[in-house]
């Protein structure tokens, strides 16, 4: 009797712990598997475009779906596309990277700054209220930001900000030039920044709030000012999570579709030559052109958009790796290591 119970118990424990191991292993593998599946399916779907376009896809700034209403076809490597069709990604890649870069440059200091202010420099009541709104803002659908950008930001850039910046900072490359409607690179960058500030703030704030209180107390007891505590204790400890927050924001900016579509000016066939130039991003182009691409009887337009999606996917991964790499390099340099600077 007693023997069976004794021997049964650990066996059941072993089985359930093995099941648990398998389950958690599957769960851990799920995310990369899903990502990989999407990428493979997309790549297969894009294959006709890859073959038809060859290297031109990566080097051309021209994007033209060609004559979709009958007419003759252009056949390469046995694959047909409409007459006059041309698929080059450069305009969209440039628009995506530049608008996201502007967004990051604006949003990172603001986002981290607000997070620091909330955790270290504001009364608890105020911090709670502001945090609530930050989280609310992080959940607002992007089309709302787009509409705000279109109705408020764009006219303002066109009438005031653009001409002003052009006049004062016009000597810096990219800052000069006509602002025109206000639709374009700057508007896209700012809308993206406004969208990702709440993300960066919310994640950084959580990370900063998790820094052990004892550590901050010890800093205080050593006679550090609150600012020194933030700079040398809180931020270094929270740094991995804060970098994660920035990467999260960057991912959102690179992939944002709707909001950018509404304020970008939807440029085709021309690269931006200043901050106020109309642009298109990869994501917004895919969304905007899918409808007309579907009418392409050869299917090439949709395949080309799929290739654009694959490239966007790869760029997102690549940029994430690059950011991590840059941060690692900076960490070795004296810029971030304030505390270790010294003279001989």
């Amino acid at each position: 009797m007693s023997e069976t119970t004794v021997s049964a118990r650990p066996r059941r424990g072993r089985v359930s712990s093995r099941a648990w191991g398998v389950a958690s292993g599957l769960a851990a593998a799920a995310t990369p598997l899903i990502l990989l599946t999407i990428l493979v399916v997309l790549a297969i779907f894009a294959w006709r475009s890859v073959v038809w376009n060859g290297l031109g896809f990566f080097t051309s700034t021209k994007w033209n779906l060609g004559n979709l209403y009958g007419g003759s076809l252009v056949v390469r490597h046995g694959i047909a596309a409409p007459q006059g069709a041309e698929y080059g990604m450069l305009v969209f890649v440039t628009g995506t990277l530049l608008s996201s870069a502007i967004a990051i440059v604006l949003a990172v200091p603001v986002g981290i700054g607000v997070a620091v202010a909330l955790t270290s420099f504001s009364p608890r009541g105020l911090a709670t209220v502001v945090s609530f709104f930050v989280e609310l803002l992080a959940g607002v659908p992007s089309v709302v930001f787009g509409l705000w950008g279109f109705t408020v930001l764009v006219p303002w850039i066109g009438a005031t900000v653009g001409p002003g910046m052009s006049k004062v900072l016009g000597f810096i490359p990219f800052f000069g030039g006509q602002a025109q409607t206000g639709l374009g690179l700057l508007a896209s960058g700012i809308v993206l920044a406004v969208m990702i500030v709440p993300i960066i703030t919310a994640v950084s704030r959580d990370a900063l709030a998790k820094v052990p209180r004892e550590l901050l107390e010890q800093g205080r007891a050593l006679g550090l000012t609150e600012w020194e505590i933030v700079r040398d204790l809180s931020l270094p400890v929270a740094r991995p999570a804060v970098i994660g927050a920035v990467i999260l924001g960057l991912g959102r900016a690179l992939g944002e579709t709707m909001a950018v579509l509404m304020v970008s000016g939807s440029a085709v066939n021309s690269l931006p030559h200043n901050l106020y130039s109309p642009i298109s991003t990869m994501a917004s182009t895919i969304a905007a052109q899918l409808d007309s691409a579907m009418t392409d009887a050869t299917g090439m337009a949709v395949h080309a958009l799929a290739e654009l999606a694959v490239v966007l996917f790869l760029i997102t991964v690549l940029v994430n790796l690059l950011v991590k790499r840059i941060v690692r390099t900076l960490e070795q340099s004296p810029v971030l290591l304030w505390a270790e600077r010294e003279t001989e």
Partner: protein, 281 residues
């Protein structure tokens, strides 16, 4: 024997007992008062945490604060370097003087005060830096940037904390790699490096094993030659071993303050006696 005599009158001072252990200790000391507390009250919101505390903490010796959990030992210690400032609803009445200056006065900057009154906590928490930088950090903030000077301060602080021989070859390693006792000595070295006048310690050995504890106790006695040391401890033997004066707190009141020998062998107050003999607490 002593216990019986004391049991006769609670607050009654028995001159026969007072004169016994006190004399030899008291004579050569001749220390000045580093901290003077005069009718000091501390409130956290409505809670009255410390009640009318009056005592003098002499310089260049170890003073212990003992008492049951929650009686306000930490609060009292943290009142000395204004570490309670951020507690919501914190309010003080009465005076705390540090070398004659009112600690809670308008002109006192807590940041400056804390550089003169260092503090070591129960759980050692090294900063997220190398061992060297942990110790060099304070002096750097004070403007010391010369490499040779920093090297000297770091070495002497680590030597004083009894850690130099352990870490002298691994100064660039992260401080978190040290053992708990070593981390605590590193925290002491970090405090020493800014050259404070006072070191406050809040149960500094309660997270350490006996041999690490012994090392810290020996260290404190050595440091008392140059620094004023105030230690909160739950360990009666520790208080008896390291301190010259002991304050016994109960429910926010200072029940008794005097030479450690006397507090442990012939206290005036019945409650002190009950506590040090382990009858409650």
């Amino acid at each position: 024997m002593i216990r019986e005599e004391d049991a006769t009158g609670r607050e009654h001072r028995d001159p026969g007992i007072v004169s016994l252990p006190e004399e030899p200790v008291d004579e050569p000391r001749a220390n000045r008062a580093m901290f003077v507390l005069d009718g000091f009250d501390l409130y956290f919101g409505r809670a009255h945490i410390l009640k009318g505390i009056t005592l003098e903490i002499p310089s260049n010796q170890v003073t212990a604060i003992i008492g049951p959990s929650g009686c306000g030992k930490s609060s009292l210690l943290r009142s000395l370097n204004r570490m309670n400032d951020r507690v919501p609803g914190m309010r003080v009445e009465g005076k705390v003087l540090f070398e004659g200056d009112d600690v809670y006065g308008q002109s006192v900057d807590p940041v400056t005060l804390r550089r003169r009154v260092g503090m070591v906590f129960q759980r050692p928490t090294p900063f997220p830096m190398s061992i060297f930088d942990n110790v060099a950090y304070g002096p750097r903030l004070h403007g010391l940037a010369k490499r040779s000077e920093l090297d000297r301060v770091v070495e002497s602080s680590l030597r004083d904390a009894g850690l130099w021989d352990v870490v002298k070859d691994t100064l660039r390693k992260p401080a978190t790699a040290l053992s708990g006792g070593e981390q605590q000595r590193l925290c002491i070295a970090r405090t020493l490096a800014v050259d404070p006048e006072v070191i406050l310690l809040d149960e500094p050995t309660s997270a350490l094993d006996p041999s690490a504890t012994t090392r810290i106790e020996e260290l404190l006695q050595r440091l008392a030659e140059r620094y004023t040391i105030v230690i909160v401890t739950h360990n009666m033997q520790q208080a008896a071993r390291v301190s010259e004066d002991t304050a016994f707190l109960l429910s926010g009141e200072l029940v008794e303050f005097g030479p450690t020998d006397k507090i442990f062998r012939a206290p005036d107050d019945r409650r002190t006696e009950d506590y040090v003999t382990g009858r409650f607490g």
